[in-house]
């Protein structure tokens, strides 16, 4: 392949070739420390510091003892590292009602999040599948109501749901909260799944029908196995969303089954006693830990999830 240059041997080419050593050659010279790069990376670095600062402050504060906090400033690293605040936040911090720490809220949140994620994804994926492949009359009307509903402030529907749950006898129970999460997760998830299943080639669906598979057969044997990535995206979306919820937790549950966020707020903002900032920050970090882990582990899938969830239309 190196013959290329030999093909053309005109005199003009030879003329230029003789001068080929003069003048600029190769890549444009680029300085690493050009003004553009300094401004670009400088800005990004400063902004990154601003974004990281709160996380840093949370960590250092949670590792300091109270006397050190009263003396120093929030940004100074701990002189003496102590895990006492973490232990206290987890096991013995008081919410005003009881003093068994955030662990209770953590396990409540686990017991709320897992069934809510499973139920909401199960319902929404079937919805999305039905909307994408088994259009029936009126389906799109219901779907439109659902999507519009995603924009209605939750406050408008808070009380009617209280009545519905009370009628069903599950107001104030975990089951009730799981149901609420499944309901409010439905618009975004249904949209997510519908868009995904619509992008699956229709021929595949048709071929399966010709082969005699029915509604559930196609769902379980064909759609489900080939849509694992979107299920992961939905899971990330729901785990972080439900774990971070505060409003539904406070409205639809009772104090002994409050999720972690509600309990955290009660611990930190409780008016009794001396403020223990280090315990507060340890508790805050503990609550933020689950979504943070999900976020850092999932990486690009998280971005895909919020992009899908964000473009609700």
């Amino acid at each position: 392949m190196a013959e290329a240059g030999l093909i053309d041997h005109t005199d003009a080419a030879a003329g230029i070739r003789s001068r080929a050593l003069e003048g600029p050659r190769g890549a444009r010279p680029r300085r690493v420390l050009s003004r553009r790069n300094i401004i670009l990376y400088g800005t990004l670095f400063v902004v990154a510091v601003y974004y990281l600062l709160p996380l840093y402050v949370m960590i250092v504060t949670s590792l300091k003892g109270m006397p050190e906090i009263r003396l120093g400033n929030v940004f100074s690293p701990p002189v003496e590292i102590t895990f006492e605040p973490w232990v206290k936040a987890w096991a013995t911090a008081c919410t005003g009602l009881n003093c068994d720490g955030l662990s209770r809220g953590f396990w409540n949140s686990v017991r709320i999040t897992i069934p809510s994620v499973v139920l909401s994804i199960a319902i929404a994926s079937v919805n999305g599948y039905a909307l994408a492949n088994w259009r029936f009359k009126g389906a799109n009307l219901f779907f439109t109501i659902l999507i519009v509903g995603a924009f209605i402030p939750y406050q408008v529907m808070l009380y009617p749901i209280v009545i519905i749950l009370r009628e069903m006898g599950i107001y104030g129970t975990l089951t009730g909260l799981v149901l609420v999460h499944s309901i409010f997760g439905m618009p975004i998830l249904t949209l997510l799944f519908r868009n995904y299943f619509t992008s699956v080639p229709e021929e595949l669906f048709k071929a399966a029908r010709v082969d005699g598979a029915g509604f559930w057969g196609i769902y379980f044997k064909i759609m489900l196995p080939m849509s694992l990535p979107i299920f992961v995206v939905a899971m990330i979306l729901q785990v972080t969303g439900i774990w971070n919820d505060f409003l539904f937790g406070v409205v639809y549950t009772k104090p002994d089954i409050y999720p972690m966020t509600v309990q955290l707020n009660n611990i930190v903002n409780s008016v009794q006693g001396v403020k223990e900032y280090n315990v507060n920050m340890a508790a805050t970090l503990l609550t933020g830990l689950v979504p943070l882990v999900v976020y850092f582990v999932s990486g690009k899938l998280f971005v895909r999830g919020i992009a899908a969830g964000a473009v609700k239309g």
Binding site: A2, A4, R25, G26, P29
Partner: protein
Amino acid sequence: MASVSVRNLDLSFGDVKVLQNLNLDIEKGEFLVLLGSSGCGKSTLLNCIAGLLDITDGQIFISEHNVTWEQPKDRGIGMVFQSYALYPQMTVEGNLAFGLKNARVPKDEIKKRIARAAQLLHIEPLLKRKPAQLSGGQRQRVAIGRALVRDVDVFLFDEPLSNLDAKLRAELRVEIKRLHQQLENTTMIYVTHDQIEAMTLADRIAIMRAGAIQQLADPATIYNKPYNKYVAGFIGSPSINFFDGTLEAASDPVFEAGETKIDLSRYAFSGNGPKPGPVTFGIRPEHIFMDKAAVDEPFRADVEVDVVEPMGADTLVWSKLNGHELRFRVDGQTPLRKGDRVKVGFDPARASIFDAETEMRL
């Protein structure tokens, strides 16, 4: 005098070498087509010439100036893109004027240039419209216009017709050729994967593969005397017939493949003359004749018809010559059926023979 010269150009992305030691000289007023399948580096080369990609090594001259380090806008080029790349929220006029305004060209000069371009491209009635209100063909005309108003000596086209349907493509192809004829002394470099476009438009074609130029020549040479086996197979549709065999006897050259023996005394060997050994023999389907037309051909043989593909104006016949597949083209009205035995013939002087090992033309 060369209008565009590429000297020893290297381009790598990390460890991947995209273009290697590439040399190219394009005369003033020449229409050069860079032809190749996707991924061969033809668009990359064009982007390097435009200054949109930083090269790794080598030099680029445009109109005798070393522009290797120049910004695209200072290279004296205009460029037309496959996706048109019109500024969607500006009118056609705005699109044509935007670059000039930025270069602080006087207002009446801008007006004059737009008027000329609009007249050349027949887009005067569209000047006040937005790109979204135009058809694909109209959009591409405007995109050409945007290059035209820059008043430059070198035009770069990056697959400009690939987004258009077949009919529009043929129309605009002629239009571009006419434009080139009208604009004397304007060099055009045109990237395409479509060999018809290349053959019809080019003064010279550079066939590229894996970042290197395989052959640089006028269309007729490329078609009749392909430099290597790749070029022979790439150009021509339906593609050329290849037979693997051996070249016998240096003084009285004969090509042998099984029972088939072709006398090559009429074939013009290049360079060092015939060299005995394994070779590939190529003959284009349109150079093979049938029945009466075959009588006067130096080489004749009987073949059995296998598949008949009528295409209207002509018919492509797939047949077997001593077990080797042989495609040939006959008039569209010829009645032929599977199993027919027919006489075919061709002139070995029109064939191409390649060394089986180096794949170079002999």
